[in-house]
Every structure is written in structure tokens, then in C-alpha cells.
Amino acid sequence: MEDYLNVRGRIFDIQKFSVHDGPGVRTIVFLKGCVLRCRWCCNPESQRYEIEQMQQGGKLKTIGRDVTVGEVMDEVDKDRIYYAYSGGGLTLSGGECLCQPEFAEALLHAAKEYGYSTAIESTACAPIDTIRKLLPYLDTYLMDIKHVDPEKHKAFTTRDNGLILENARILAKEAKHLIIRVPVIPTFNDTPEEIAAISKFVAEIMPHGEINLLPYHRLGLDKYAGLGRPYTLDYISPPTDGKMQELLAVAEQYGLQAKIGG
């Protein structure tokens, strides 16, 4: 067996038949641990690296397990036929896969060996050299840009966005295919001005680039209760379709290929 198949890492979920996170039919492997603590995060169980317990459907569930790349690939490979027909493959999500860089690299390496397309959903909040190690094996980088204002970014995610924006500039040149994703969060970044500022930045680093506006949703709400953590965005509700259309038009004004959803 190749060495990279023996690399170990920590995941908390594998989801199949995803059709909205990268091209074709994809399997998403969720890695555990993240550097940010976004207040709207729909996978709060992903944030800590430690294995933890979560109450779910009346049962206590262990979140997180340590696995080898080979074990993950056994599961991912079950859907190879659907990747072949759709140009799909493996997407790493999280958490933040850059928090387990060797594991992430080995997973992507394996996926390319198996012949899949690869993608990561990532904040790019890591040293650029760490990210560069993944790029040879990466087809699509789905990168979050949540805000261009450092203070507001910090207030809602616990970190400012200096490193993220800097990395975005580099990735616009070096990544094979970069798609910027903006979670649209009421009270945080949902004004036309804020979306305009993000779009302006994206258009500068990547003229006519792709941008996805992802409307805020509350599907992760129960998980906060299950983890015994407070949910601090109780007071906001998902943006309306009309609102999203308005913001889409804003992004399009900057010449971007914009769409709602992934």
C-alpha cells in the first residue's frame, strides 16, 4: 500500500450524493477542527479538534473518529461510478481541512490516484505554504470570503481577515479553479454595500471570477443545543429570495459570474 494511504486524520462525517459543492456528484468528507468560530456555523460539532459528545435525536452521539486515508477512500470509492458519469469526486470540508494539512494532502493525493475530481471547501486561513502543498492535487478551491472589514470579521468569527485576503490574492493566481463563496448572514454582511465591497475585492484579484452567495440557514440550530453551547444568532432569520436576488445583482455589477447557492 502507498504511504499516503496510511496517513491518519480525524473526521466527523462522510456525506454522499452532494450535487451542490463542486462539479458533479460528490462525496464530502468532513474533517474535524477549525481555526475560526463563526457565529452562524451550521456544523458547530466540527469546530473543536477534540472528539466530543453530542445529543442527537435523544441519543448521545460521539463526534469524531480517527481514520486512515485508506479507510476513507474505501468509503468514498463506493460511489466512483457516479463520479465517472458526472465529473464528480471528493470534496474536503470541515471544520477546516487546512488544520490537518498532511491528512488533507494525502486524501487529495489518493483521490487523484483513484481518478476523481477534487475540491476543498476552506477558509484559507493558514500559512500559504501549507495551502501550496495541496494545490498539485486540487481541482477546485471553494474559498470563503465572509467580509472585507477586519474588525467586523473578527467580531463574528474571532479572527480578523488579513491572512485570508492575502491568501486569496495568491490563490487567484495559483489555484487551478478558484470559486469564492460568501455566506450571506443578516446583520453581518447582508447589505448591498458589504456585498459590493466583497465583490469589488474579488473582481480585483480575479476579473470575471466566480462567486457564490450562500443564503444563511438555520439547519444546524439543534446541534448547538446538542453540544450544550449557546447559539448567539437567535435574532436573525434567513434572507428572503428577493433579498438574495438584490445582492446577486450587486455582485454581477462587478462583472463576476455570480450565483445563489453552490
Partner: protein
């Protein structure tokens, strides 16, 4: 550039009017056919049966009332009222007489019947005692078969009480040469009937019957020509006046002669389709590859500038509506098994030519469009998929799926063609297959497939393993051993196989008895005239006139049996957590849960019988008390704890449908317990038996008659449908479910397999949703799955429809191999559809 037109063609305003008229009132039962049939039969006593059948058919079509409904462009109605039915006493009738007073109010498929019709039918029925196919079939059956049927191991009810149907005739030949051309073929064949031939008598009688049937059917169409002209005279709207004149022209020419235009071809097709359903009460008379045999007429008219795409589409839409004008009343129990007023007229688009080239054309796309325009349960619309199917066709089909009516069903050429070749079809014939009824493949115009020969409940034999073959005090199956003798799993599994083998043989016995009864009492010369090689052989389909002959009874409950046997193997023999006796006790006591009505009644009846036998006949109050106690089934606390623990442990075991290799291979083996023994038997028409794995909707009523099973399923609840995983048991998404189901051997089930999936509408959203969905189908098919169908409707919508049926009168859902109006289904079948696992996507 593809050489077909893929854009959508707009819908004519006429279509909504036709649909509204069709659904104006409740379906009626009409007596005209029964009266005419009986008049003729009284006059032909003592003549050859082929002659009697043809004379009766001719008498019916020459005299039955005809009507042209408002705004119709394609005419031909079997009943005065829309969506109504005639009755067919030659097959069976006592059930209808018994149900005269309940047929209008029953939950599944109610029909109105007037007092006048009841009186008339009552008179007519006096003639038929002792003369039906069902009575003769019963007389031919073995005692064992009758015992197994009484205990609901299987039910051959479909052909036992009705005509066979389940055929696709050679429509193309009628379009080309007309009924006159076919009569001419029969007359030619008659010239070769020599007085000294051993089969002179039957051959001559049959060929004469063909000639008479063709003549009478042509006259039937000409009656419409006369009617249309009469109506045109008094019609004040100039547009309609012109339409009626066109109708008159068409009916004067077709189907007697070959069609000269696409419009005539449409009208000719429709007369064939509806007259087949006047001759016999068989359902699943399937139009098959409409896009193929209609195409030359469309293409010629289009090239000559004689037709617009819009008008061609309107004609197709009219036919699509017309399919819903035909109807059929079944006995109450069968109505549960075929719920939704369905006639299973399966129409299929796409696929390959006889030479193996892609067959997609304009009409393939327009068939999808017609289904979108009409959005009614009929026709059962299907598409064929092969490796070379154009992506644009798949996407358009997926757009139809997304509309939520459960259509189209998708069929995999790459499995079905080799499966049919393995059953003796030529490669060319196999490539031209179409689907009959729900999911059954055959070659049109050459096959008497007896596709829907019975339902076999694979769960019932395992119940008999636990009781050494006895039930309700009767020895139903063989004695396969006391529980204590099952010291290894292999011994237990062998006992199951022994029960299966025994019951399969009885199923064959019952089917063959019914087959012979149809051959003797109800040969069908009109239908037979359009299937090769009846005229050449000089005998009807029912006596072996077809090139290909099969009998295809359906097994269902594979998922339950796979999970059940896996549970017994793991918990009793591998882990030794429970004894087989504990398992048996838990099943007998329904895991300590209340019993359903069927089991409660059965057990109460047994207790009352016992008391009777001891001279202590209970009064009504005592019986009610016994019933209540049996139903509530309160068990001691200690036992209850054990049962609960057992069910919890079963729950934790891996289940079929989750992409677990070992469990799936186990399921594959379990399916063989039905499919393999069956193929060793022969039918009286010289063909073989081959299995289907699909339930129509019988998994619900037959589940109600099934006790608790070792997969944790409670007594009386539905059994898994087709090859689908048990409801709610497949929890790892659609690809896992597909991978598991594809691991079964679909090729051996050459009478068809049925895989139901349910999607939330959000899963097919946007282009990426459609693309993902198409890849799912392609992936399942690449792994040798045979068929897939989908309900795309949210659970919330279905529940809302249950509670507010008036809001959802037009909600069409997929039941089994067909779609039906949701609100017309019985509550239990509605629940079954709601409870199917709902697949989403991320």
C-alpha cells in the same frame, strides 16, 4: 446537430377541456357489453369456442352504444360515461354481484352502479353460472394449490378473475395494412387449410374468427364516421364542424385500411388500443414503442409540410388524455392490489433499433412533452436508457420526473436485452423490447408473456418454517422440522428453501390451471390476429399461437427476507444472543405489540372454533372480548422486556440498502430462493416460467395478511416493495441504496424488477440537481440495475393531501410500476408511500 427536435412544443387549450370533461363525475359501471355478449352466447351454444368468441365480439362492437365526447379529435369510447367501465362475465362475475352495494363506497377504486344496471346484470348473470374461466380454473387446481391460496402464500387473482391482457400487439402492422390487410392474411392462410389436416377444425375455426373480428372492428370505426357526420350537420361552431368532418373522414378509412397521414395513424392506433379492451378485461394492454411505429407517419407529413409540430403534439396529447377514458372494475381485494384505477397501459420512448442504434426521435421528446401537458396517471410512461442514450433526452426525462407525477420510469437496455436473449429471444427482437404493465419486458407483436401471473409473498414461507409448516390448525406447507432441529443456520435456511420450493410448485400449479381455462373458454381472436404467429399457426395466443410464451409471477418481500434471515443468522447462530425458540415466541406474539385487524380476526376465529369444538359456543359479547384481548396483545412484563431488547438488537444490525457488501450479497442469495426454482417449470403454451420481482401495490394488502417477521417488522404492516430496501431502512443516501439494489441479480428476474425511490423536490433543484439525478440513474444502470422510478414530492405535501384531499385532486404519485391519483388510493397505501425512505441531497 442531433437529427431530432428537442424543444418543447406548446400545449393546446383543448387539452384542459378534455381533462375537465373526463373528471366531471364518478366512474360508472355499464352493462351494455355484458348484455350483448350474453345475447350472442345464447345463440352460439355448441359451436367451436373460437367461433363463439368472434361472434360475441362482432355482436358487441356492432351494437354497443358509441359516443364522441366534446372537443375530441381522437374518438372511440368503450363507455357512454367518461372513465367508466364495461363488465366481463365470461371471466368471473359473482364477486361483482356480491359487491353491488359496496362498490360505490369502498376505499379503493369506487364505481357508481345504477339500480337499473344491477337489475340487468343480475338477469345476465343467470346465464353464466358454471361457464366462466375462473370456475374451470378452480376445477383444474390441485388441493395443495387451493390450500396455499387460502392461506395467502400467493395469489393468482389477476388472471383467475379477469382476462389476461398484458400484451403489446403489432400496432405498426395495423397502421400499415389495416384490419383489411390482416383479414387478407387470414384468408390466405385459410387457403392452406386442407380438409385432411389434423388441425383442420381448430385452424379453420380460428382463421374464420380472425376474419370476422377484423371485419366487425372495421365496422365499429365506420359507425363513428356516420356519427361524426350526423353531429357535424347540427354543429353550429364552424371550427368544430370542420373537426367532425375530419373525424368522419379518418374513421371511414382507418383502421380498415392503412393510415395515409399521422392523424389517421393516431386514430387507427386508438381504435386498436380501445377495442383490445372491449374484447377482454385484461389490463396492461401496453402501447409500447409509440415513438417508433408512429414516426414514419409523422416524418412523412412533416417533410411534406402536411402537419405542424404543434398539431402533431396536440394529437398526441389527445391520445394521452384518451388513455384515461378506459377503466376497469375489479373485486375489492384486487382493487387494493392494483389501486388507482390503473390499466397499466405502458408507453415507452427511446432505446435502440433492432440493429442496435439509438432510436431517439422527435416523437420520443414529444412523448415526454405530452406527459407533461396532460399530467394524468395514464399512459404509464417509461423511457429506455442505454449507453448511447442522448444526454438531452435524459435531462428532459429528468425534468418530467421533477414535476412529481412519478413518471417516467427508467429501464436499462444493458440488462434487459441480455436477460431476454437468455430466455430465447433473438438479439434483434430483444433490442426492440418494450415494457408491459408495470415493469415487464417483452418483444411486441410476438409474445404472450402472462406477465402478471401471481403475487408470491416471500415472507410467508418463513412463518411456516417457525411452525413446521402448519397454520391455523392446517398443514399448509411441508414439515421442515421442529425448531430444536435447527442447530445451524444452514439447517434453518434449508427449511426456508424447502418451504419456498414447495410453494413455488403450487404457484405453478395454480397458474397453469388458469392458463388452461383461458385456452378453453376465452381465446381472443381479435387480439391474436395482431400477434405473430397466431395466423401462421392457426391458433390463438391463449393456445400457444405466439412466437414467445412465458409465465411471469412476481415475488416480493426480498428486503424483509434478506434482513430477516440475516437477523436470525447473526443473533441466533453467530452471536448466540437468542435461541431460535425465543425468536419464534417473539414472532408469535408480534414482539409484544398490538395485532392488526387481519391477524386479530384470524386468531379470534381460531379460538372460537376451539370453543365450539368443545361445545362451549361463545356469545357475541364474549367474541368481542376475545377479539379485543387478542388485538391488544398484552404480554407479561418479563417477556415484553425480552421482545423489546430483541427488536432493539435487530434494529442495530446492518440492513439491505446501505451499501454493505455482505448484507447485499446475502440479499442476492435470498432472491435466488424464488428466481431459480421458478425457471424450471413450464406452462401449457410451451413456454417457461421466469420471475419478476415487483409487487404492483399488493405489498400493502398482502402485508396485512403477514405475521411478524424476524427483521423486526410487525404483523400486518406492509412488506417491502419490489427490490427496494425496506421502508426507512436505507439511511445512507440514494447512491448507497442504488449500489445495494444493483447487487441483486436483475438479469435472472427477466420478468422485471422494481426499484422505488422517493426524493424531496429540493434534491432535483436547478441544473446541478438534474445533472446529479441523471448521473444517479446512469450509475445504477452501469452497475446492472434494471429499473428505477421516483416520487418527487415532499412528505409534508403528501400528509397535507391526506388531510385535505379536495386541494389535491390532481396530485399524481408513483405507486408501483404505475402512477395514480394520490387521493384515490386507500389510506393504508397512502401511508405506505409516505413512509418510503425520502432521499435528499446535500
Amino acid at each position: 446537430m442531433p437529427d431530432f427536435y428537442t424543444a418543447e412544443v406548446p400545449k393546446s387549450p383543448r387539452i384542459a377541456k378534455l381533462v375537465a370533461h373526463l373528471f366531471e363525475k364518478m366512474p360508472q359501471i355499464e352493462a351494455d357489453r355484458a348484455i350483448l355478449l350474453t345475447e350472442s352466447y345464447r345463440k352460439t351454444e355448441g359451436l367451436p369456442i373460437a367461433t363463439r368468441r368472434a361472434e360475441a365480439f362482432a355482436h358487441i362492437v356492432r351494437n354497443i352504444p358509441i359516443t364522441i365526447r366534446p372537443d375530441e379529435l381522437i374518438v372511440g369510447s368503450a363507455t357512454k360515461s367518461p372513465r367508466s367501465c364495461q363488465v366481463f362475465p365470461e371471466f368471473s362475475f359473482t364477486w361483482l354481484e356480491d359487491e353491488f352495494d359496496t362498490v360505490a363506497t369502498r376505499s379503493a377504486d369506487p364505481f357508481e352502479i345504477s339500480e337499473e344496471t344491477k337489475r340487468t346484470l343480475h338477469e345476465v348473470y343467470k346465464y353464466w353460472g358454471g361457464k366462466t374461466t375462473s370456475e374451470l380454473a378452480l376445477a383444474y387446481m390441485s388441493d395443495g394449490a387451493k390450500m396455499a391460496m387460502k392461506h395467502n402464500i400467493f395469489t393468482p387473482g389477476n388472471y383467475f378473475y379477469n382476462g389476461v391482457g398484458h400484451v403489446t400487439v403489432d400496432y405498426g402492422e395495423v397502421l400499415a395494412i389495416g384490419f383489411e390487410g390482416i383479414a387478407e392474411k387470414a384468408r390466405e392462410a385459410l387457403k392452406n387449410c386442407h380438409d385432411g389436416d389434423a388441425d383442420y377444425a381448430t385452424r379453420k375455426a380460428f382463421l374464420d374468427a380472425v376474419v370476422l373480428s377484423m371485419e366487425a372492428a372495421s365496422e365499429y370505426a365506420e359507425r363513428y364516421a356516420v356519427l361524426a357526420l350526423e353531429m357535424a350537420k347540427t354543429e353550429t361552431d364552424p371550427q368544430r364542424k370542420m373537426e367532425l368532418a375530419l373525424i368522419a373522414n379518418n374513421c371511414a378509412n382507418v383502421p380498415r385500411h392503412g393510415a395515409k397521414s399521422f392523424y389517421e395513424a393516431c386514430q387507427s392506433f386508438w381504435f386498436v388500443q380501445m377495442l383490445l379492451q372491449v374484447e377482454s378485461s385484461g389490463h396492461s394492454i401496453s402501447p409500447g414503442r409509440f415513438d417508433q411505429y408512429m414516426y414514419p407517419y409523422y416524418k412523412a407529413d412533416l417533410d411534406a409540410g402536411k402537419i405542424t409540430r404543434e398539431f402533431a403534439q396536440e394529437l398526441m396529447d389527445c391520445i394521452w388524455v384518451k388513455f384515461n377514458d378506459l377503466n376497469k372494475v375489479r373485486d375489492a381485494a384486487s382493487a387494493e392490489g392494483f389501486a388507482g384505477y390503473s390499466l397499466f397501459q405502458n408507453l415507452i420512448a427511446g432505446g435502440q433499433t433492432a440493429e442496435g442504434l439509438d432510436a431517439t426521435n422527435d416523437l420520443s421528446f414529444m412523448s415526454i412533452t405530452a406527459t407533461m401537458h396532460v399530467l394524468l396517471p395514464a399512459p404509464s410512461f417509461s423511457v429506455r436508457v442505454w449507453n448511447g442514450t442522448p444526454h438531452s433526452f435524459m435531462i428532459r426525462a429528468a425534468e418530467l420526473t421533477r414535476m412529481g407525477s412519478g413518471m417516467p420510469a427508467y429501464y436499462n437496455d444493458e440488462v434487459i436485452i441480455p436477460a431476454l436473449v437468455s430466455r430465447g429471444l433473438t438479439m434483434e427482437d430483444a433490442r426492440e423490447y418494450n415494457i408491459i404493465g408495470c415493469v415487464e419486458p417483452q418483444k411486441s407483436g410476438k409474445t404472450e408473456g402472462w406477465h402478471d401471473a401471481a403475487f408470491f409473498n416471500m415472507c410467508r414461507p418463513v412463518e411456516l418454517v417457525f411452525t413446521n409448516g402448519s397454520e391455523w390448525g392446517e398443514q399448509v406447507g411441508p414439515k421442515t422440522g421442529e425448531l430444536s432441529e435447527f442447530t445451524t443456520f444452514e439447517k434453518f435456511y434449508d427449511a426456508y428453501k424447502a418451504q419456498m420450493n414447495y410453494m413455488i410448485e403450487l404457484l405453478v400449479n395454480a397458474d397453469n390451471a388458469i392458463d388452461l381455462a383461458h385456452a378453453e373458454r376465452c381465446p381472443l381472436p381479435f387480439e391474436s390476429a395482431m400477434v405473430e404467429d397466431c395466423i401462421g399457426r392457426g391458433k390463438p395466443l391463449q393456445q400457444g399461437g405466439a412466437i414467445y410464451n412465458f409465465t411471469g409471477p412476481q415475488g416480493f418481500g426480498i428486503a424483509n427476507m434478506a434482513d430477516a434471515l440475516y437477523a436470525v443468522k447473526t443473533l441466533v447462530y453467530d452471536q448466540k444472543k437468542y435461541t431460535i425458540q425465543q425468536f419464534a415466541d417473539a414472532l408469535r406474539n408480534n414482539y409484544g405489540q398490538p395485532f392488526g385487524p387481519v391477524q386479530s380476526e384470524q386468531m379470534t376465529l381460531q379460538i372460537v372454533k376451539e370453543l365450539d369444538a368443545h361445545g362451549r359456543t361463545p356469545d357475541e359479547k364474549t367474541i368481542a372480548d376475545i377479539y379485543a384481548r387478542v388485538r391488544d396483545n398484552e404480554v407479561p412484563t418479563s417477556k415484553k422486556a425480552l421482545y423489546d431488547q430483541l427488536r432493539a438488537d435487530i434494529d442495530e444490525l446492518p440492513k439491505f440498502g446501505n451499501d454493505e457488501f455482505d448484507v447485499d450479497l446475502f440479499a442476492r442469495d435470498v432472491a435466488y430462493t424464488y428466481t431459480r426454482p421458478l425457471q424450471n417449470f413450464k406452462n401449457p403454451r410451451g413456454g417457461i416460467f421466469h420471475a419478476g420481482l415487483y409487487p404492483v401495490s399488493a405489498n400493502v394488502p398482502l402485508g396485512a395478511q403477514t405475521g411478524a417477521t424476524p427483521d423486526g417488522r410487525l404483523a400486518g404492516t406492509p412488506v417491502a416493495d419490489g427490490v427496494s430496501p425496506a421502508a426507512g431502512r436505507d439511511v445512507h443516501g440514494p447512491t448507497a441504496s442504488c449500489n445495494s439494489v444493483a447487487r441483486l441479480d436483475h438479469g435472472i428476474a427477466s420478468n422485471g424488477t422494481l426499484f422505488n425511490m422517493k426524493f424531496h423536490p429540493s434534491a432535483l433543484k436547478g441544473r446541478s440537481g438534474l445533472e446529479g439525478f441523471v448521473s444517479l440513474i446512469r450509475g445504477y444502470f452501469a452497475q446492472k440495475g434494471m429499473h428505477m422510478q421516483f416520487n418527487v414530492v415532499s412528505r409534508e405535501t403528501l400528509i397535507d393531501a391526506q388531510n385535505n384531499p379536495d386541494k389535491y385532486r390532481s396530485l399524481v404519485v408513483r405507486v408501483a410500476g404505475y402512477s395514480a391519483l394520490f387521493t384515490t388510493l386507500s389510506r393504508s397505501l397512502q401511508d405506505d408511500i409516505i413512509n418510503r425512505t425520502e432521499q435528499g441531497s446535500m
